[in-house]
Symmetry: C2
Subunit: 153 residues, 2 copies
């Protein structure tokens, strides 16, 4: 097994050493120690860190990632099955994220054309106003249907 110092992992994975120590306290990665108490990481840690960064990109918190990574061996590159399992759930997460942003963009486009200033029907601009029954946050943007918040503004 090839072992890497924390500095080597940091350089090659493109994260700070402090971040790696931090990940370790969170159980996202693991290391062995030398006689002199220095960390040595298995090479698979590089993939783990790449996975962490990719997961963050997808919007996962370190906590969620810790859970996902808990199912992977620390010292080996994940198997095809491991990878399929993770990437599939991330994919669907990405899909819904994309869908949300596309919806927001489309509303925005509608709005640009709609005059928007005094209109009751502007979706993106439709504030929580009048829709205060539905909880907190700008209702439409946070997932309620457009109809549910038809505005009086």
């Amino acid at each position: 097994m090839e072992w890497l110092t924390i500095g080597q992992v940091a350089d090659r994975a493109g994260v700070a050493t402090s971040a790696l120590r931090f990940y370790e306290t969170k159980g996202l990665i693991a290391s062995e120690r030398t006689d002199g108490n220095q960390r040595r990481y298995p090479r698979a840690t590089l993939r783990r860190v790449a996975l962490i960064r990719a997961g963050q990109e997808v919007g996962l918190s370190l906590g969620e990632l810790a859970e996902a990574l808990a199912t992977l061996p620390h010292d080996k590159v994940p198997t095809k099955n491991d990878w399929e399992r993770l990437s599939k759930s991330w994919r669907s997460r990405l899909d819904s994220q994309i869908a949300e942003l596309v919806a927001l963009r489309d509303e925005l486009s509608d709005c640009i054309g709609c005059g928007c200033l005094s209109l009751k029907s502007c979706a993106i601009f439709n504030p929580g106003d009048v829709a205060s029954d539905y909880g907190t946050g700008p209702r439409y943007l946070l997932g309620d249907s457009r109809d549910a918040v038809a505005a009086e503004v």
Copy 2:
């Protein structure tokens, strides 16, 4: 001019009063005071708050929003031009956000099929390893081209 109390704005805009006071300290919204030192917000504040929430949804920080909103009058609903200016820049921001996520998703799909375990060509899994020259962060994911980080893993 119709004036709203902080509670009314909070209810109708769907945010906490503490958030409104916080926005005010950041210059995102503004109020007049009654003789008894209570805040009164112009009705246009509802739109401003909706704008803030929409902007956050698009990934803008309150700082960025403060900048954008600085160009709008506090006491009037923004003009069509104001709105067009903002929404167009947000739209392009959304466009690139979406493009990024779609790229990530596509890589993920490729990866699911590719076997991925020991392959040099897996984009999403291609760690910063070997690409340590390019700065910090997982290279490919953070914007470098796929070719630039062809891996040795």
